[in-house]
Assembly symmetry: C2
Homo-oligomer: 332 residues x 2
């Protein structure tokens, strides 16, 4: 029997309907093969091809070998560009626009190796990637942008266009409503309860245990109660912090390890799935608040967002998060 | 140069970045072939196979031939089920759920012909489909459900699992926040301006003309100013009506024709794209309000929703809606 669950942070509902997973389909599952070479002469992210890409913003040198370990470059085909005017303009009393989409769109090249995979890199390498995230996050916030979104698209179903391992950072001159809404809900929860809804969620998860997959000293990795899709995963710092910018070097160290461990786990358990992960954090200049709590959300793209999700905003999930957690922990 | 545009209804922003369309990709475009037969002995929606599916709720007989033209059946693998208890239950003072996902999940089988295509059916057939939508919409609203979502998934990229032409209707016992938000924004616009934001949008579009693709007597079909993806399309009744339930038979007649015409157009111009369409309407029991305005949104699935869209809620569109409209009208 399906049930409905509410996400206490966003107040959105999801339908958990396990029987939907049994329905017939005429379409074959995607096959994930990857025989990319270690170096691709046509790849703008491979070492030696640096001149094919725009000039680098930041780089970390390798400790073992000559050359860079991680580098950040501007996106050659940016969604936003640093030059321009911040003015919002009304067109015809009705429509509003910014003639210039001022902002920053950066690529974090995560390894010199074309076929490297996050999940199988040394923890040290992932630490460097997360350190690059933090540095660029701070610089972008300090440049006057309003929101910095750090994300990673892995695999074709997750919308990636290049195989070389990379993440992206987009800094926008606006904060969208869809970002404000969950922040407002969290603020209302704080005003009602005198506590951060995310901190309360962590306490609940620690009490119940059955949705936790990995518990570190500084981070908790769990399958949320109101997961929208199978294996939706959340990694949250256990100590309250509204902004990713507060991540400490000890936290970076543990997060690198947990992220690596989890990505390796889903590679084997879920057959190398496409996924997106996003760091959800408070907009710039509101970092010190008590009601929001940054986190990393990972969405394996095993299903497609279809008309019902797009039309109603309600998601139908055909797996219980408790079951996903048990499978990932080899308890099922 | 990219620009940012705000949707006056939802207040969400989109980035229009035409140069993003030129970036290289290592992945091939999906190929759309369809050589399905007119009848498939394994298809539960084909005539003669009715016993493979649950008992029908509604049917319309064909005027030309023996048998049904359009029928509505319960989904055999429903996301929600009509039996059960509406009670919301608090679990552990923190999480809230409805133990029973009470609701209705129906399939509108749009033709007896397995390989028929919406866009190439007679207008009369599409009228019957829209009439079925209205009848089931009314019955579901009157049964006490809170929101009725009518949608169609066409093609694999749009998440369909069966080829036989069909739409779906899901009636839920809850109204999600993501539905309430745009309604609230529309209410605020009304309180500020004394006018329906959708009606004002229609007037703007009529004044500017360059985003309109089809203009009927009762409906306007246009590419919205702040389109989230290339060829996002909106069909709106020109007369104010908050709820789809008010659609008249004259409106059904014109909508059937326009929908057919538009789907044929994108079949040829966009190479038989996968798409979702959704009827966006006010929740049940608030039908008579002056600030919301029902509409049909069609999203061709030529691009994928990736980490940035999922993380920030901001969409990056690599085509101007004015350009999409010109291409569809053969002006470019």
């Amino acid at each position: 029997m399906p049930e409905l669950r509410q996400n206490p942070i966003t107040k959105e509902w999801v339908i958990i309907a396990p029987t939907r997973g049994q329905r017939p389909t005429e379409f074959k599952a995607e096959i994930h093969e990857d025989n990319s070479p270690i170096y691709d002469p046509n790849c703008p992210f491979c070492p030696g091809n640096e001149s094919m890409a725009p000039e680098e913003i930041l780089s970390f040198q390798s400790e073992q070998k000559n050359g860079w370990a991680v580098r950040v470059i501007p996106n050659k085909y940016p969604a936003l560009t640093p030059q321009g005017n911040y003015t919002r303009k009304n067109i015809s009393d009705f429509y509003r626009k910014m003639q210039d989409a001022v902002g920053s769109h950066e690529i974090v090249i995560e390894s010199p190796q074309h076929n490297a995979k996050l999940g199988f890199m040394p923890d040290e390498q992932v630490k460097t990637i997360l350190t690059a995230y933090k540095k660029r996050y701070l610089t972008n916030c300090n440049s006057g942008y309003k929101l910095v979104t750090i994300f990673r698209n892995y695999g074709e179903a997750a919308g990636t266009s290049l195989r070389h391992p990379h993440s992206q950072i987009i800094a926008t001159p606006i904060v969208p409503n869809s970002k404000r809404y969950p922040v407002e809900e969290a603020m209302r929860y704080y005003d009602d309860n005198g506590a951060c809804v995310f901190c309360d969620m962590i306490n609940q998860e620690l009490a119940v245990q059955d949705r936790i997959v990995i518990l570190g000293k500084k981070f908790i990795l769990f399958e949320p109660f109101a997961s929208r899709i199978p294996y939706e995963t959340c990694i949250m710092p256990i100590s309250h912090a509204a902004s990713f910018s507060f991540i400490t070097s000890e936290e970076i160290e543990e997060l690198a390890h947990i992220l690596n461990q989890f990505l390796k786990l889903i590679y084997f358990k879920l057959n190398n799935p496409s996924y997106n992960y996003m760091i959800q954090t408070i907009p710039c200049k509101s970092e010190r608040n008590l009601f929001y709590h940054w986190n990393l959300v990972l969405l394996p793209r095993l299903t497609k967002f279809a008309g019902f999700e797009l039309g109603s905003g309600i998601h139908i999930n055909n797996m219980y998060p408790e079951e996903c957690a048990a499978i990932l922990k080899d308890q099922k």
